[in-house]
Protein backbone atom coordinates (compact mmCIF):
# COMPACT_ATOMS: atom_id res chain seq x y z
CA UNK A 1 0.00 0.00 0.00
CA UNK A 2 1.39 3.35 -1.03
CA UNK A 3 1.18 6.39 1.22
CA UNK A 4 1.61 9.99 0.16
CA UNK A 5 3.45 12.80 2.00
CA UNK A 6 0.23 14.11 3.45
CA UNK A 7 -0.43 10.79 5.16
CA UNK A 8 3.05 10.65 6.62
CA UNK A 9 2.62 14.20 7.89
CA UNK A 10 -0.69 13.36 9.49
CA UNK A 11 0.67 10.19 11.01
CA UNK A 12 3.62 11.99 12.53
CA UNK A 13 1.61 14.94 13.78
CA UNK A 14 -0.95 12.59 15.24
CA UNK A 15 1.74 10.73 17.11
CA UNK A 16 3.35 13.95 18.33
CA UNK A 17 0.19 15.80 19.19
CA UNK A 18 0.58 15.13 22.89
CA UNK A 19 4.23 16.09 22.89
CA UNK A 20 4.12 19.64 24.20
CA UNK A 21 6.62 21.62 26.21
CA UNK A 22 5.88 21.58 29.91
CA UNK A 23 4.61 24.65 31.68
CA UNK A 24 7.76 24.95 33.68
CA UNK A 25 10.09 24.92 30.69
CA UNK A 26 9.82 28.64 30.11
CA UNK A 27 10.83 29.32 33.71
CA UNK A 28 13.78 26.99 33.30
CA UNK A 29 14.85 28.79 30.15
CA UNK A 30 14.52 32.14 31.91
CA UNK A 31 16.46 30.88 34.96
CA UNK A 32 19.19 29.60 32.70
CA UNK A 33 19.45 32.97 30.97
CA UNK A 34 19.52 34.82 34.29
CA UNK A 35 22.18 32.51 35.72
CA UNK A 36 24.22 32.93 32.57
CA UNK A 37 23.92 36.71 32.79
CA UNK A 38 25.27 36.65 36.34
CA UNK A 39 28.06 34.33 35.30
CA UNK A 40 28.96 36.54 32.35
CA UNK A 41 28.88 39.65 34.51
CA UNK A 42 31.26 38.05 37.01
CA UNK A 43 33.51 36.78 34.27
CA UNK A 44 33.61 40.18 32.60
CA UNK A 45 34.35 41.87 35.91
CA UNK A 46 37.20 39.46 36.60
CA UNK A 47 38.47 39.81 33.07
CA UNK A 48 38.27 43.59 33.28
CA UNK A 49 40.18 43.57 36.54
CA UNK A 50 42.89 41.42 34.99
CA UNK A 51 43.09 43.66 31.93
CA UNK A 52 43.30 46.77 34.09
CA UNK A 53 45.98 45.16 36.24
CA UNK A 54 47.99 44.16 33.19
CA UNK A 55 47.65 47.59 31.59
CA UNK A 56 48.61 49.32 34.82
CA UNK A 57 51.57 47.01 35.30
CA UNK A 58 52.68 47.56 31.73
CA UNK A 59 52.24 51.29 32.03
CA UNK A 60 54.02 51.44 35.34
CA UNK A 61 56.82 49.18 34.22
CA UNK A 62 57.39 51.32 31.16
CA UNK A 63 58.36 54.31 33.27
CA UNK A 64 59.52 52.80 36.54
CA UNK A 65 62.29 50.26 36.96
CA UNK A 66 59.92 47.68 38.37
CA UNK A 67 62.37 45.00 37.36
CA UNK A 68 64.96 46.38 39.76
CA UNK A 69 68.40 46.55 38.27
CA UNK A 70 67.06 45.23 35.00
CA UNK A 71 65.16 48.49 34.63
CA UNK A 72 61.84 49.14 33.02
CA UNK A 73 59.87 46.74 30.88
CA UNK A 74 61.09 48.24 27.59
CA UNK A 75 64.64 48.00 28.90
CA UNK A 76 64.14 44.37 29.82
CA UNK A 77 62.71 43.66 26.38
CA UNK A 78 65.59 45.52 24.73
CA UNK A 79 68.06 43.56 26.84
CA UNK A 80 66.48 40.27 25.89
CA UNK A 81 66.65 41.17 22.21
CA UNK A 82 70.25 42.34 22.50
CA UNK A 83 71.30 39.23 24.39
CA UNK A 84 69.58 37.05 21.81
CA UNK A 85 71.49 38.81 19.04
CA UNK A 86 74.76 38.51 20.93
CA UNK A 87 74.16 34.82 21.57
CA UNK A 88 73.39 34.24 17.93
CA UNK A 89 76.50 36.17 16.97
CA UNK A 90 78.65 34.12 19.35
CA UNK A 91 77.35 30.97 17.72
CA UNK A 92 77.96 32.33 14.25
CA UNK A 93 81.48 33.41 15.02
CA UNK A 94 82.44 30.09 16.58
CA UNK A 95 85.69 30.37 18.46
CA UNK A 96 86.84 33.49 20.26
CA UNK A 97 83.78 35.60 19.51
CA UNK A 98 84.98 38.44 21.72
CA UNK A 99 88.24 38.77 19.83
CA UNK A 100 86.49 38.54 16.48
CA UNK A 101 83.98 41.13 17.52
CA UNK A 102 86.83 43.36 18.63
CA UNK A 103 88.48 42.94 15.24
CA UNK A 104 85.30 43.71 13.37
CA UNK A 105 84.64 46.80 15.44
CA UNK A 106 88.30 47.86 15.24
CA UNK A 107 88.56 47.85 18.99
CA UNK A 108 91.95 48.04 20.63
CA UNK A 109 93.60 44.92 21.95
CA UNK A 110 93.59 46.34 25.43
CA UNK A 111 89.85 46.72 25.27
CA UNK A 112 89.37 43.21 24.01
CA UNK A 113 91.76 41.94 26.65
CA UNK A 114 89.85 43.83 29.31
CA UNK A 115 86.67 42.10 28.26
CA UNK A 116 88.38 38.73 27.99
CA UNK A 117 89.86 39.14 31.46
CA UNK A 118 86.50 40.03 32.93
CA UNK A 119 84.18 37.43 34.35
CA UNK A 120 81.68 37.92 31.55
CA UNK A 121 80.58 35.05 29.37
CA UNK A 122 81.46 35.12 25.68
CA UNK A 123 77.97 36.33 24.81
CA UNK A 124 78.05 39.09 27.40
CA UNK A 125 81.56 39.98 26.30
CA UNK A 126 80.40 40.47 22.74
CA UNK A 127 77.55 42.62 23.97
CA UNK A 128 79.84 44.68 26.21
CA UNK A 129 82.17 45.38 23.29
CA UNK A 130 79.30 46.36 21.03
CA UNK A 131 77.74 48.66 23.64
CA UNK A 132 81.09 50.29 24.37
CA UNK A 133 81.69 50.73 20.67
CA UNK A 134 78.30 52.26 19.99
CA UNK A 135 78.27 54.47 23.05
CA UNK A 136 81.81 55.72 22.53
CA UNK A 137 82.50 55.00 26.18
CA UNK A 138 85.40 52.94 27.52
CA UNK A 139 84.50 49.31 27.84
CA UNK A 140 85.49 49.56 31.49
CA UNK A 141 82.49 51.80 32.00
CA UNK A 142 80.26 49.12 30.58
CA UNK A 143 81.92 46.43 32.66
CA UNK A 144 81.64 48.55 35.78
CA UNK A 145 77.95 49.09 35.21
CA UNK A 146 77.49 45.40 34.56
CA UNK A 147 79.48 44.55 37.69
CA UNK A 148 77.07 46.61 39.73
CA UNK A 149 74.39 44.20 38.62
CA UNK A 150 72.60 46.36 36.08
CA UNK A 151 70.81 44.59 33.25
CA UNK A 152 71.98 45.17 29.71
CA UNK A 153 68.84 47.12 28.87
CA UNK A 154 69.47 49.58 31.66
CA UNK A 155 73.13 49.87 30.73
CA UNK A 156 72.15 50.56 27.14
CA UNK A 157 69.69 53.20 28.28
CA UNK A 158 72.31 54.88 30.45
CA UNK A 159 74.80 54.92 27.61
CA UNK A 160 72.23 55.98 25.02
CA UNK A 161 72.57 52.85 22.95
CA UNK A 162 69.43 51.63 21.24
CA UNK A 163 68.48 48.16 20.18
CA UNK A 164 68.85 49.30 16.60
CA UNK A 165 72.45 50.31 17.30
CA UNK A 166 73.12 46.82 18.58
CA UNK A 167 71.56 45.33 15.49
CA UNK A 168 73.70 47.48 13.22
CA UNK A 169 76.86 46.59 15.11
CA UNK A 170 76.00 42.91 14.98
CA UNK A 171 75.50 43.18 11.23
CA UNK A 172 78.89 44.82 11.00
CA UNK A 173 80.49 42.00 12.98
CA UNK A 174 78.68 39.40 10.95
CA UNK A 175 79.76 41.04 7.72
CA UNK A 176 83.37 41.18 8.85
CA UNK A 177 83.27 37.54 9.91
CA UNK A 178 81.75 36.52 6.59
CA UNK A 179 84.47 38.25 4.59
CA UNK A 180 87.08 36.44 6.63
CA UNK A 181 85.39 33.14 6.06
CA UNK A 182 83.36 31.59 8.79
CA UNK A 183 84.94 33.43 11.63
CA UNK A 184 86.92 30.55 13.05
CA UNK A 185 89.94 31.29 10.96
CA UNK A 186 89.68 35.01 11.19
CA UNK A 187 92.49 36.83 12.80
CA UNK A 188 92.22 37.91 16.36
CA UNK A 189 91.82 41.46 17.53
CA UNK A 190 94.77 43.53 16.64
CA UNK A 191 95.72 46.86 17.97
CA UNK A 192 97.85 48.82 15.64
CA UNK A 193 96.99 52.10 17.09
CA UNK A 194 100.39 53.67 16.79
CA UNK A 195 101.70 51.50 14.02
CA UNK A 196 104.30 49.91 16.27
CA UNK A 197 102.20 47.58 18.33
CA UNK A 198 102.12 43.92 17.50
CA UNK A 199 100.03 41.15 18.93
CA UNK A 200 100.80 37.55 18.20
CA UNK A 201 98.95 34.46 19.28
CA UNK A 202 100.33 31.02 18.81
CA UNK A 203 102.53 28.26 20.01
CA UNK A 204 105.59 29.04 22.06
CA UNK A 205 108.47 27.55 20.14
CA UNK A 206 111.33 28.94 22.14
CA UNK A 207 112.07 30.81 25.31
CA UNK A 208 115.13 32.12 27.06
CA UNK A 209 115.73 34.67 29.75
CA UNK A 210 115.65 37.49 27.23
CA UNK A 211 113.76 36.13 24.22
CA UNK A 212 110.55 34.32 23.52
CA UNK A 213 109.37 33.02 20.17
CA UNK A 214 105.67 32.70 19.55
CA UNK A 215 104.23 31.69 16.20
CA UNK A 216 107.63 32.20 14.59
CA UNK A 217 107.84 35.75 15.91
CA UNK A 218 110.61 36.52 18.38
CA UNK A 219 110.12 39.06 21.11
CA UNK A 220 112.55 40.53 23.53
CA UNK A 221 111.69 39.90 27.15
CA UNK A 222 112.72 43.04 28.96
CA UNK A 223 112.57 44.21 32.49
CA UNK A 224 109.20 45.81 31.87
CA UNK A 225 107.70 42.73 30.25
CA UNK A 226 104.84 41.25 32.17
CA UNK A 227 104.48 37.49 32.02
CA UNK A 228 101.26 35.92 33.15
CA UNK A 229 99.88 32.43 33.34
CA UNK A 230 96.38 31.79 34.59
CA UNK A 231 96.25 35.32 35.94
CA UNK A 232 99.47 34.99 37.93
CA UNK A 233 102.99 36.07 37.25
CA UNK A 234 105.29 33.57 35.64
CA UNK A 235 108.97 33.70 34.76
CA UNK A 236 110.69 32.71 31.55
CA UNK A 237 112.40 29.92 33.46
CA UNK A 238 109.03 28.53 34.47
CA UNK A 239 107.78 28.82 30.90
CA UNK A 240 110.84 26.89 29.73
CA UNK A 241 110.12 24.23 32.32
CA UNK A 242 106.52 23.99 31.14
CA UNK A 243 107.62 23.60 27.54
CA UNK A 244 109.44 20.44 28.53
CA UNK A 245 106.10 18.90 29.45
CA UNK A 246 104.36 19.70 26.18
CA UNK A 247 103.05 22.41 23.93
CA UNK A 248 102.12 25.77 25.30
CA UNK A 249 100.68 28.81 23.66
CA UNK A 250 100.83 32.50 24.28
CA UNK A 251 99.40 35.82 23.33
CA UNK A 252 102.14 38.40 23.15
CA UNK A 253 101.71 42.11 22.86
CA UNK A 254 104.86 43.83 21.78
CA UNK A 255 106.21 47.13 20.58
CA UNK A 256 108.60 47.56 17.71
CA UNK A 257 111.85 49.13 18.75
CA UNK A 258 114.07 51.40 16.73
CA UNK A 259 116.45 48.53 16.04
CA UNK A 260 113.46 46.56 14.59
CA UNK A 261 113.44 44.15 17.49
CA UNK A 262 110.10 43.72 19.22
CA UNK A 263 109.91 44.28 22.93
CA UNK A 264 107.22 42.19 24.57
CA UNK A 265 105.02 44.26 26.83
CA UNK A 266 102.70 41.51 27.94
CA UNK A 267 103.00 37.77 27.50
CA UNK A 268 99.98 35.71 28.45
CA UNK A 269 100.79 32.03 28.49
CA UNK A 270 97.92 29.66 27.74
CA UNK A 271 97.46 25.93 27.90
CA UNK A 272 95.59 25.35 24.67
CA UNK A 273 95.52 26.62 21.16
CA UNK A 274 91.85 27.36 21.68
CA UNK A 275 92.82 29.97 24.16
CA UNK A 276 95.46 31.43 21.97
CA UNK A 277 94.74 32.53 18.46
CA UNK A 278 95.84 30.35 15.62
CA UNK A 279 97.73 32.73 13.51
CA UNK A 280 100.35 35.28 13.72
CA UNK A 281 98.77 38.63 13.51
CA UNK A 282 99.27 42.30 13.26
CA UNK A 283 100.73 42.05 9.87
CA UNK A 284 96.96 42.00 9.35
CA UNK A 285 95.78 41.57 5.82
CA UNK A 286 98.27 44.08 4.55
CA UNK A 287 101.87 43.51 5.69
CA UNK A 288 102.62 47.18 5.44
CA UNK A 289 99.69 47.87 7.63
CA UNK A 290 101.87 47.94 10.69
CA UNK A 291 102.38 51.58 10.09
CA UNK A 292 98.77 52.31 9.38
CA UNK A 293 96.93 53.90 12.19
CA UNK A 294 93.46 52.50 12.65
CA UNK A 295 92.59 54.64 15.57
CA UNK A 296 94.34 56.90 18.02
CA UNK A 297 92.15 55.74 20.87
CA UNK A 298 93.38 53.17 23.31
CA UNK A 299 92.26 51.71 26.56
CA UNK A 300 94.63 50.92 29.36
CA UNK A 301 93.55 49.06 32.43
CA UNK A 302 95.55 48.04 35.41
CA UNK A 303 96.89 49.08 38.76
CA UNK A 304 98.39 52.51 39.14
CA UNK A 305 102.13 52.19 39.62
CA UNK A 306 103.04 55.86 39.29
CA UNK A 307 100.87 58.87 39.65
CA UNK A 308 101.53 62.56 39.89
CA UNK A 309 99.60 65.65 38.94
CA UNK A 310 100.72 65.27 35.35
CA UNK A 311 101.81 61.68 34.76
CA UNK A 312 100.15 58.36 35.24
CA UNK A 313 101.65 54.94 34.77
CA UNK A 314 99.42 51.92 34.67
CA UNK A 315 100.56 48.38 35.19
CA UNK A 316 100.52 46.62 31.83
CA UNK A 317 100.63 49.78 29.74
CA UNK A 318 104.16 50.42 28.59
CA UNK A 319 103.94 54.15 28.14
CA UNK A 320 103.55 57.07 30.47
CA UNK A 321 100.17 58.67 30.26
CA UNK A 322 99.87 62.42 30.47
CA UNK A 323 97.25 63.86 32.79
CA UNK A 324 96.06 67.37 32.15
CA UNK A 325 93.23 69.71 32.92
CA UNK A 326 91.06 68.11 30.26
CA UNK A 327 91.41 64.69 31.80
CA UNK A 328 88.11 63.57 33.25
CA UNK A 329 88.34 61.44 36.35
CA UNK A 330 85.54 59.26 37.66
CA UNK A 331 85.52 56.95 40.63
CA UNK A 332 83.11 54.29 41.68
CA UNK A 333 81.17 55.59 44.61
CA UNK A 334 81.73 59.28 43.95
CA UNK A 335 81.24 59.81 40.25
CA UNK A 336 83.19 62.70 38.82
CA UNK A 337 86.28 63.59 40.81
CA UNK A 338 89.75 64.95 40.10
CA UNK A 339 93.27 63.78 39.42
CA UNK A 340 94.11 63.89 43.11
CA UNK A 341 91.75 60.97 43.62
CA UNK A 342 94.04 58.69 41.63
CA UNK A 343 96.15 56.75 44.10
CA UNK A 344 98.85 54.17 43.82
CA UNK A 345 97.57 50.63 43.65
CA UNK A 346 94.12 51.56 42.46
CA UNK A 347 92.78 49.71 39.47
CA UNK A 348 91.98 52.19 36.77
CA UNK A 349 90.68 52.12 33.24
CA UNK A 350 92.17 54.90 31.17
CA UNK A 351 90.91 56.10 27.84
CA UNK A 352 94.07 57.25 26.12
CA UNK A 353 94.50 59.38 23.02
CA UNK A 354 97.73 58.99 21.13
CA UNK A 355 99.07 62.12 19.56
CA UNK A 356 102.49 61.71 17.98
CA UNK A 357 104.31 59.78 20.65
CA UNK A 358 102.38 61.23 23.56
CA UNK A 359 99.65 59.30 25.28
CA UNK A 360 97.19 61.62 26.92
CA UNK A 361 94.51 60.44 29.27
CA UNK A 362 91.11 61.59 28.15
CA UNK A 363 89.28 59.81 30.89
CA UNK A 364 90.36 57.89 33.96
CA UNK A 365 87.89 55.58 35.59
CA UNK A 366 88.93 54.50 39.08
CA UNK A 367 87.41 51.09 39.69
CA UNK A 368 88.25 51.00 43.38
CA UNK A 369 85.31 52.43 45.24
CA UNK A 370 85.91 55.65 47.08
CA UNK A 371 86.24 55.14 50.80
CA UNK A 372 86.27 58.08 53.10
CA UNK A 373 89.41 57.97 55.23
CA UNK A 374 88.79 57.88 58.91
CA UNK A 375 91.11 60.61 60.11
CA UNK A 376 90.41 59.88 63.73
CA UNK A 377 91.62 56.33 63.51
CA UNK A 378 94.75 55.25 65.26
CA UNK A 379 97.59 56.09 62.99
CA UNK A 380 99.11 52.64 63.39
CA UNK A 381 95.84 50.84 62.74
CA UNK A 382 94.16 52.13 59.67
CA UNK A 383 90.78 50.52 59.90
CA UNK A 384 89.36 51.47 56.55
CA UNK A 385 90.08 50.13 53.12
CA UNK A 386 92.17 53.07 51.92
CA UNK A 387 95.48 52.04 50.44
CA UNK A 388 98.43 52.68 52.72
CA UNK A 389 102.12 52.37 51.99
CA UNK A 390 104.63 50.62 54.22
CA UNK A 391 108.37 50.43 53.71
CA UNK A 392 110.66 48.08 55.50
CA UNK A 393 112.65 44.88 55.51
CA UNK A 394 111.18 41.44 55.27
CA UNK A 395 111.46 39.71 58.62
CA UNK A 396 109.91 36.41 57.61
CA UNK A 397 107.89 34.77 54.84
CA UNK A 398 105.34 32.03 55.36
CA UNK A 399 104.69 30.38 52.01
CA UNK A 400 101.89 28.13 53.23
CA UNK A 401 99.82 30.96 54.58
CA UNK A 402 101.10 33.42 51.96
CA UNK A 403 102.06 36.20 54.33
CA UNK A 404 105.17 38.07 55.32
CA UNK A 405 106.19 40.21 58.24
CA UNK A 406 108.45 43.23 58.29
CA UNK A 407 111.13 43.83 60.91
CA UNK A 408 109.87 47.36 61.43
CA UNK A 409 106.38 46.17 62.27
CA UNK A 410 107.14 43.17 64.47
CA UNK A 411 106.01 44.73 67.68
CA UNK A 412 103.13 44.25 67.45
CA UNK A 413 103.50 41.93 64.50
CA UNK A 414 101.67 43.00 61.36
CA UNK A 415 100.95 40.24 58.87
CA UNK A 416 101.08 41.30 55.24
CA UNK A 417 98.85 38.89 53.36
CA UNK A 418 99.62 38.12 49.73
CA UNK A 419 96.33 37.73 47.90
CA UNK A 420 95.62 36.31 44.48
CA UNK A 421 95.20 39.84 43.27
CA UNK A 422 98.39 41.14 44.85
CA UNK A 423 101.01 42.47 42.48
CA UNK A 424 104.54 41.44 43.31
CA UNK A 425 107.34 43.09 41.38
CA UNK A 426 110.91 44.15 41.58
CA UNK A 427 112.27 47.66 41.25
CA UNK A 428 112.12 47.43 37.48
CA UNK A 429 108.47 46.37 37.58
CA UNK A 430 109.27 42.79 36.69
CA UNK A 431 106.81 40.37 38.18
CA UNK A 432 107.97 38.30 41.11
CA UNK A 433 106.76 35.11 42.70
CA UNK A 434 106.05 34.93 46.39
CA UNK A 435 108.62 32.18 46.72
CA UNK A 436 111.37 34.55 45.57
CA UNK A 437 110.80 36.86 48.53
CA UNK A 438 113.37 36.34 51.24
CA UNK A 439 114.06 37.74 54.64
CA UNK A 440 116.25 40.81 54.56
CA UNK A 441 114.85 42.20 51.32
CA UNK A 442 113.80 45.81 51.37
CA UNK A 443 110.24 46.20 50.21
CA UNK A 444 107.60 48.82 49.68
CA UNK A 445 104.11 47.56 50.30
CA UNK A 446 100.86 49.17 49.37
CA UNK A 447 97.89 47.56 51.02
CA UNK A 448 94.70 47.80 52.93
CA UNK A 449 94.39 47.13 56.62
CA UNK A 450 91.85 44.48 57.40
CA UNK A 451 89.68 44.29 60.47
CA UNK A 452 92.03 41.78 62.10
CA UNK A 453 94.82 44.34 61.67
CA UNK A 454 96.57 42.25 59.05
CA UNK A 455 97.28 43.97 55.74
CA UNK A 456 95.95 42.84 52.39
CA UNK A 457 98.81 43.51 49.99
CA UNK A 458 97.75 45.37 46.87
CA UNK A 459 101.27 45.74 45.59
CA UNK A 460 104.66 44.74 46.87
CA UNK A 461 107.79 46.14 45.30
CA UNK A 462 111.25 44.99 46.24
CA UNK A 463 113.68 47.89 46.41
CA UNK A 464 117.43 47.97 46.12
CA UNK A 465 117.73 51.27 47.85
CA UNK A 466 118.54 51.18 51.50
CA UNK A 467 117.42 54.68 52.03
CA UNK A 468 113.98 53.69 52.92
CA UNK A 469 111.98 55.43 55.46
CA UNK A 470 111.85 52.55 57.87
CA UNK A 471 108.33 52.55 58.90
CA UNK A 472 107.35 55.64 60.55
CA UNK A 473 104.95 53.41 62.26
CA UNK A 474 102.24 54.62 60.08
CA UNK A 475 101.22 54.32 56.54
CA UNK A 476 101.66 57.09 54.05
CA UNK A 477 98.45 57.86 52.24
Amino acid sequence: MEHNDREYTDMLNNELKDIEPGAGLHSKVRDGIAANAVHMRRRNTALGAVVIAVVLTMGLSAVTPVFGRNGTLPQVITAMAAERQAKKMSKTLGTAPVQQTGTALQTSVTTVQTVSDSALSETDGVLALVIANKSGKPVADVLTLRATGLGWGRIMAQLNVSGRDIGKAMSQVKGAAATKGKGENSKPAVSNTDGNKIVVNGEITGVSDTLITVAAKTFVVGSTTQLKYQGKAITTTEIAAKLLTGKFYATVQGTKQVDTSILANVIIVQDTAEQAKQEQVNEQTNPSNEQAAVSNDQQARGKVTVVSATVLHVDGFANDIILNADTKVEQVGTGTTNIAAIKLGQTVQVHVILSGTTYTAQQVHIEDAYVKTDTTANENQTTNSAVTTWQGTIASTTPGAQFITLTEFNNPTVFFRIMATSVLQDASHKALLFTTLTAGQKVTIMGRTLTDNSVEVVKLTTTTSTSVNPGKGNGKH
Binding site: M1, M11, I19, P21, L25, H26, V29, G32, I33
Partner: protein, 169 residues
Protein backbone atom coordinates in the same frame (compact mmCIF):
# COMPACT_ATOMS: atom_id res chain seq x y z
CA UNK B 1 2.54 34.03 12.14
CA UNK B 2 5.32 35.31 9.92
CA UNK B 3 4.33 38.91 10.49
CA UNK B 4 4.06 38.32 14.19
CA UNK B 5 7.45 36.63 14.24
CA UNK B 6 8.96 39.47 12.24
CA UNK B 7 7.64 42.00 14.71
CA UNK B 8 8.90 40.01 17.68
CA UNK B 9 12.34 39.58 16.17
CA UNK B 10 12.51 43.32 15.54
CA UNK B 11 11.66 43.96 19.17
CA UNK B 12 14.22 41.42 20.33
CA UNK B 13 16.81 43.04 18.12
CA UNK B 14 16.05 46.44 19.59
CA UNK B 15 16.75 45.09 23.06
CA UNK B 16 13.26 44.65 24.46
CA UNK B 17 13.62 42.01 27.12
CA UNK B 18 9.98 40.84 27.08
CA UNK B 19 10.15 40.28 23.34
CA UNK B 20 12.43 37.32 23.88
CA UNK B 21 9.70 35.64 25.89
CA UNK B 22 7.32 36.22 23.00
CA UNK B 23 9.84 34.74 20.63
CA UNK B 24 10.11 31.73 22.91
CA UNK B 25 6.38 31.18 22.95
CA UNK B 26 6.14 31.51 19.18
CA UNK B 27 8.85 28.98 18.44
CA UNK B 28 9.17 26.52 21.32
CA UNK B 29 6.29 24.21 20.49
CA UNK B 30 7.53 23.22 17.08
CA UNK B 31 11.12 23.03 18.24
CA UNK B 32 10.12 20.74 21.08
CA UNK B 33 8.40 18.28 18.75
CA UNK B 34 11.31 18.25 16.32
CA UNK B 35 13.78 17.58 19.08
CA UNK B 36 11.53 14.89 20.47
CA UNK B 37 11.67 12.91 17.23
CA UNK B 38 15.43 12.99 17.54
CA UNK B 39 16.04 12.47 21.28
CA UNK B 40 12.76 10.78 22.23
CA UNK B 41 12.92 11.67 25.92
CA UNK B 42 11.41 14.76 27.49
CA UNK B 43 14.31 15.29 29.88
CA UNK B 44 16.85 15.46 27.09
CA UNK B 45 14.58 17.66 24.99
CA UNK B 46 14.10 20.13 27.83
CA UNK B 47 17.85 20.33 28.44
CA UNK B 48 18.50 21.00 24.78
CA UNK B 49 15.68 23.57 24.56
CA UNK B 50 17.18 25.48 27.50
CA UNK B 51 20.62 25.44 25.97
CA UNK B 52 19.35 26.47 22.53
CA UNK B 53 17.37 29.46 23.84
CA UNK B 54 20.30 30.55 25.98
CA UNK B 55 22.52 30.59 22.93
CA UNK B 56 19.88 32.43 20.95
CA UNK B 57 19.57 34.96 23.78
CA UNK B 58 23.30 35.60 23.68
CA UNK B 59 23.09 36.58 20.01
CA UNK B 60 19.66 38.24 20.18
CA UNK B 61 21.01 41.65 19.20
CA UNK B 62 22.35 40.21 15.98
CA UNK B 63 19.04 38.71 14.86
CA UNK B 64 17.73 40.74 11.98
CA UNK B 65 16.49 38.32 9.39
CA UNK B 66 13.13 37.08 10.61
CA UNK B 67 12.97 34.35 8.04
CA UNK B 68 16.18 32.79 9.23
CA UNK B 69 15.44 32.95 12.95
CA UNK B 70 13.45 29.68 13.19
CA UNK B 71 15.99 27.96 10.97
CA UNK B 72 18.83 29.40 13.02
CA UNK B 73 17.17 28.34 16.26
CA UNK B 74 16.72 24.79 15.06
CA UNK B 75 20.26 24.72 13.80
CA UNK B 76 21.49 25.64 17.25
CA UNK B 77 19.15 23.12 18.83
CA UNK B 78 20.21 20.30 16.51
CA UNK B 79 23.88 20.93 17.28
CA UNK B 80 23.13 20.94 21.00
CA UNK B 81 21.09 17.75 20.63
CA UNK B 82 23.86 16.05 18.72
CA UNK B 83 26.37 16.95 21.43
CA UNK B 84 24.02 15.68 24.08
CA UNK B 85 23.42 12.49 22.14
CA UNK B 86 27.15 11.89 21.80
CA UNK B 87 27.65 12.45 25.51
CA UNK B 88 24.87 10.10 26.56
CA UNK B 89 25.58 7.50 23.84
CA UNK B 90 29.34 7.74 23.36
CA UNK B 91 29.91 4.49 21.46
CA UNK B 92 26.96 3.79 19.23
CA UNK B 93 23.67 5.47 18.86
CA UNK B 94 20.78 3.26 19.87
CA UNK B 95 18.71 2.48 16.85
CA UNK B 96 16.65 -0.52 17.66
CA UNK B 97 15.69 0.11 21.25
CA UNK B 98 15.45 3.05 23.54
CA UNK B 99 16.15 2.62 27.24
CA UNK B 100 12.99 2.95 29.18
CA UNK B 101 14.07 5.80 31.36
CA UNK B 102 11.96 6.15 34.41
CA UNK B 103 9.90 9.31 34.45
CA UNK B 104 10.05 9.85 30.72
CA UNK B 105 7.23 9.52 28.33
CA UNK B 106 7.59 7.50 25.16
CA UNK B 107 5.43 7.44 22.10
CA UNK B 108 2.96 4.74 21.80
CA UNK B 109 1.53 2.90 18.88
CA UNK B 110 2.73 1.83 15.54
CA UNK B 111 4.25 5.08 14.41
CA UNK B 112 6.22 5.29 17.63
CA UNK B 113 7.52 1.76 17.07
CA UNK B 114 8.45 2.62 13.51
CA UNK B 115 10.26 5.79 14.57
CA UNK B 116 12.17 3.93 17.23
CA UNK B 117 13.47 1.55 14.60
CA UNK B 118 14.93 4.42 12.64
CA UNK B 119 18.37 5.87 13.29
CA UNK B 120 18.31 9.20 15.20
CA UNK B 121 19.55 11.05 12.10
CA UNK B 122 16.78 9.55 9.95
CA UNK B 123 14.23 10.38 12.64
CA UNK B 124 15.44 13.96 12.72
CA UNK B 125 15.07 14.37 8.97
CA UNK B 126 11.65 12.75 9.12
CA UNK B 127 10.56 15.06 11.93
CA UNK B 128 11.84 18.16 10.16
CA UNK B 129 10.31 17.29 6.80
CA UNK B 130 6.92 15.91 7.84
CA UNK B 131 6.54 17.38 11.30
CA UNK B 132 7.94 20.87 10.69
CA UNK B 133 7.23 21.07 6.98
CA UNK B 134 10.81 22.20 6.50
CA UNK B 135 12.13 22.28 2.96
CA UNK B 136 14.90 19.93 1.85
CA UNK B 137 17.22 22.94 1.40
CA UNK B 138 16.61 24.15 4.95
CA UNK B 139 17.11 20.63 6.31
CA UNK B 140 20.45 20.57 4.48
CA UNK B 141 21.39 23.91 6.10
CA UNK B 142 20.34 22.74 9.55
CA UNK B 143 21.97 19.34 9.50
CA UNK B 144 24.94 20.20 7.33
CA UNK B 145 24.21 17.24 5.12
CA UNK B 146 24.01 17.10 1.36
CA UNK B 147 20.67 17.07 -0.43
CA UNK B 148 21.19 13.49 -1.64
CA UNK B 149 21.88 12.32 1.88
CA UNK B 150 18.77 14.03 3.22
CA UNK B 151 16.62 12.53 0.47
CA UNK B 152 18.09 9.06 1.14
CA UNK B 153 17.27 9.42 4.79
CA UNK B 154 13.72 10.45 3.99
CA UNK B 155 13.30 7.55 1.60
CA UNK B 156 14.67 5.07 4.11
CA UNK B 157 12.47 6.49 6.87
CA UNK B 158 9.34 6.28 4.70
CA UNK B 159 10.11 2.71 3.70
CA UNK B 160 10.60 1.70 7.29
CA UNK B 161 7.45 3.42 8.37
CA UNK B 162 5.50 1.81 5.55
CA UNK B 163 6.76 -1.67 6.46
CA UNK B 164 5.78 -1.24 10.04
CA UNK B 165 2.40 0.25 9.29
CA UNK B 166 1.45 -2.11 6.45
CA UNK B 167 2.98 -5.34 7.69
CA UNK B 168 3.50 -4.75 11.37
CA UNK B 169 7.22 -5.70 11.19
Amino acid sequence: MDDELRTVVTRVHSGEEAAFDDLYHLTVRQLYKTLYTYLMTREDVEDVVQEAYLKLYQVRRKLDDTRSVPVYLRMIAINCARRKFRRSHPITAPVEEEDDVSGTETMKGVVREALQKLSPADRLVMGLFYGDQTSIQDICRMTGEKEGTVKSRLSRARERLREVIDHGT
